[in-house]
Amino acid sequence: MTRDRTPLLLGAIFVLIVAGGPLLPQWALFILTIAIAQGLVVLGLMLLLRAGLVSFGQALYYCVGAYTTVGLTRAFGVSEIFVRLAAGAAVAAVLAFVLGFLLAKYRGIFFGLLSLALSMILYGLIVKSEALGSTDGLNVAPATLLGARPGADSVRYAMAVIAALVGTGAAYAVHLYLGSPLGRLGPAIKDNEIRVEYMGASVRYTIHVKYVIAATLAGAGGALAATTVGHIDPEMGYWTTSGEFVFVTILAGTGSVLAPFLGALLFSAIHTIAYDVSPHTWQMSLGAALLLVIVFLPGGLWSLFARGKAG
């Protein structure tokens, strides 16, 4: 039995970002922050994928988190970043708790299609609603950190540190959850649902819990992304955004809570570089990468590390 090195790794990554952040250029900090925000969403999708479920509508909660941030700021003038994140996560969690009663009954492509339909409902509402900015979207007021507003030159760094704090914290929490009896039921459900029921566990309850956790993470990710970018639009809830999240989840694999963040970072890097080098073929590179991973690395990129360790 080897010692669990994940907490140590998470701590090291956090320290690395805090210490190394000031050395990075502004654009790299921005990409890092967005990658962590998307990594949160993917972390949730990873939980579902471990139970064999693929949600093609996780952008719903990403979008809800983002719009909650703006709504909160406009209605109550809240600018505190941690309040925004908590509110985005909370609203997403409540919504997922309600919808979870319905979705927890579904498996396979029906789970995917229903989650897709639900996210498209939200998209349809936002696109046609003037109050929600329609297709133009809305601007996000700058955030404050514990009442203070960081200066223009340090705001990116501050956001990256906050993202790192939230990201590593969430990753650690999910890591603990995966070690718990409830968390371990995920792969068991994927293997054989009937046996799980015979063991005395409730499959529906387990999936419902996973779904709410996944939505909470996505809501926090959405709030984080909205504050970082400073602008939100309905594209955040469109099915192509959900597709990208699923893409990163498959690419990264389900081997570790670190995988989603590495996957998201890699995705952002591919996105940025490929877009720079040849703007018309970046989707092709993504598609080819996805295809190769599915065919040759069913466990995702993380399985490369895992295999190395075992051998």
């Binding site: 492509i109 897709l116 498209m120 509402l125 018309h280 989707q283 092709m284 599915i294």
Partner: protein, 298 residues
């Protein structure tokens, strides 16, 4: 009365278009159990090929009446180039995998094809309005409609009727039903199941391309054209029941009418209602409205 007629006519035209765009998806799902995202790519490819070939045809001064045949030929061309290669070269090795995994594989292919389209046709929009304007217009209920829309309705009827006839009355169709029912047993009885998969995939994709090429004259053909169509098609086949041709017709009719009613009376909810209906159907009849009435799908 004057209020209802335009709503109905718009609804019927939109339903016809939806049916053409979505029926290939349900066919492929019914036979192969693949939820095929590349359907969107074939739709877009059909639209691009239709627009550029028809444009070239008209530029040479050939008779404009035959441009409809060119639209048809364009759809057949892109499908024959791509669909068999895709099925034989990649998809057939994946049939043992989970439905969701195959869905992701087609999603990957969709991403690749999106850029292939951009590489071939560039990112500038294409217009070919001639086939659309050629037939003039007709009046109904005090409003003017382009006659081209009647072609869409006719095409939808021909496709729907043809598929139903093929499945019920021909040897090929009957054998296809056995493949749908039990591929393994069919194989044991000497049916070449692989061939049926190949033909189904090619024909289903052809229907998508056909939908695209016949839509091309009514819109400007731009990148990302298929992206909206695929979710709409999902909604249509889910509402009707995946794998059922009759279901796809019913789904198209429901979505078409619901949309035209909302566009005429409450335009704010246009997109919302379509997916709301889809979610409601999934919530109460997950296998679609038409599934129980006809357990043997397609």
């Amino acid at each position: 009365m004057n209020e209802i007629a335009p709503v109905l006519i718009d609804g019927i035209i939109y339903s016809a278009w939806l049916f053409i765009a979505a029926v290939g998806l349900t066919l492929i799902y019914g036979v192969m159990k693949i939820l095929n995202v590349t359907h969107a790519s074939f739709y877009a490819l059909g639209a691009y090929a239709g627009a550029s070939l028809t444009g070239a045809w008209l530029a040479r001064g050939y008779p404009p009446v035959l441009s409809y045949a060119v639209l048809l030929g364009a759809a057949a061309l892109v499908t024959l180039v791509l669909a068999p290669a895709m099925e034989r070269g990649l998809l057939r090795f994946m049939y043992a995998k989970d439905e969701v995994v195959i869905l992701l594989i087609t999603y990957a292919l969709f991403l690749i094809l999106e850029d292939v389209i951009k590489l071939i046709w560039g990112v500038n929009p294409y217009y070919v309005a001639e086939p659309y304007a050629l037939l003039g217009s007709f009046e109904a209920g005090g409003l003017t409609y382009p006659t081209y829309n009647l072609i869409l309705v006719g095409l939808a009827l021909v496709i729907g009727g043809g598929l139903t006839w093929m499945l019920r009355a021909t040897r090929f169709g009957k054998l296809l039903l056995t493949v749908i029912h039990d591929p393994e047993m069919s194989r044991a009885m000497g049916v070449n199941v692989g061939r049926y998969y190949l033909v189904t995939f090619t024909f289903g994709s052809f229907l998508a391309a056909l939908g695209g090429s016949f839509t091309a004259p009514t819109v400007s053909v731009v990148p990302g054209l298929g992206v909206d169509v695929i979710v709409l098609s999902f909604a249509v086949v889910v509402i009707g029941g995946m794998g059922s041709v009759t279901g796809a017709a019913l789904g198209a009719a429901i979505v078409g009418l619901v949309r035209s009613i909302s566009v005429h009376y409450v335009p704010q909810v246009e997109l919302f209602v379509i997916y709301f209906v889809m979610a409601m159907v999934l919530a109460f009849r997950p296998r679609g409205l038409f599934s129980l009435a006809e357990p043997r799908r397609i």
